[in-house]
Subunit: 158 residues, 2 copies
C-alpha cells in the first residue's frame, strides 16, 4: 500500500443531511479540493496555471460510498497514481476518518491536461509536469491499489 | 428518449473555480439535490422518512463531465430509471443547460433503501414505494438511455 496523504478537511455542519450523516456530494467537494492539492504537488499549481494557461479538467469519476461519516469526523484523502499518458492522469483516492481502519469511500478520477486558449483543448504535459507525475507515482504507486474500483453499474431488471 | 425533468438549479457564484467554470464537485451537489427530488416523487419524501425511518443511501456513482458550465447557466437535471430490485434503485441522470443541445454531464447512481435502526441496514421497499418506482419508470424508462455510461476507468501505462 503506497497511497500518500494529500489533503484533509473537517466535516462542516452544513454538509450533514437529513440522514444525520455527511451528504454524498460533499465527499466529492472534499475530493475535488484534494485533487487541487495533488495538482500543486505535480507542478500544476496556481503559478503554472497562470503562466501557461494550462490546467486539469475532470473527465470522469467513479465513487464508492462505504461508511457513514459524521459531523465530528475529519476527512483525510490519500491518493495513488493509477496511470498517466501524455495528457491524461488517472488517480485513485481513499477517503479515511480516524475512527475507521478502512476507507469510508474510494474514488477514481480521469483528468485531462487542457490549454485554455480561445477554445479550451487537450494539451500534452510539458516535461517538468511529466517529471512531477513520475515523482508522485514513485511515492504513490497505484499498481496494487485495492479500491473498490470503477466498473459498469448494473442491476438485474425486475 | 424518456428522461423526465426532476430538478433545476441556477449556478451559484461560489461554485465557479479558478478555471472560470463550474467546479466538478458542484455538478454532484446539484445531482444530489436532484436525487432528493426523485425520492420525493417515488414516495421517499420527508413524511415517509420520518414515519418509517427508511431512506436511501448512495452506494456508488459514475460521472462524465462533457461540457463546461458557466456562472450564467442554470442546471436542469433529467432522470431515467435504469433498474430496480427489492431494495436498490439504479438511476441515470442527464445534466443540461439551455445553450447546449446535448447533456453537459451524465451520471449514474446506485441507491440502497436503508432502515435507520440502532444499526442502519438494507431494507426491502414497501409495496407503495415499489409502485412509486414503477410509476416513475413508466414515465422515465431508461432502456434506451444513451449515457455515456459507467465503466471501468483505465489508461495504458506509460
Amino acid at each position: 500500500m503506497a497511497a500518500v496523504p494529500i489533503y484533509r478537511a473537517p466535516v462542516q455542519p452544513a454538509w450533514i443531511d437529513y440522514n444525520g450523516h455527511l451528504r454524498d456530494a460533499y465527499y466529492v467537494v472534499v475530493l475535488s479540493d484534494a485533487i487541487d492539492a495533488l495538482m500543486e504537488r505535480v507542478g500544476i499549481g496556481a503559478a503554472y496555471r497562470e503562466r501557461t494557461r494550462n490546467t486539469l479538467y475532470s473527465l470522469e469519476m467513479h465513487m464508492h460510498w462505504l461508511e457513514e461519516v459524521k459531523a465530528s469526523d475529519t476527512l483525510e484523502i490519500e491518493a495513488v497514481v493509477l496511470g498517466a499518458d501524455q495528457k491524461r492522469l488517472h488517480i485513485g483516492c481513499d477517503v479515511r476518518v480516524a475512527r475507521h481502519p478502512k476507507p469510508v469511500a474510494t474514488a477514481e478520477f480521469m483528468l485531462l491536461h487542457v490549454h485554455q486558449g480561445a477554445t479550451p483543448g487537450a494539451a500534452p504535459f510539458p516535461p517538468e509536469i511529466l517529471a512531477g507525475i513520475e515523482r508522485l507515482r514513485a511515492e504513490a504507486d497505484g499498481s496494487d491499489w485495492a479500491g473498490p474500483r470503477s466498473r459498469e453499474l448494473a442491476l438485474k431488471r425486475r
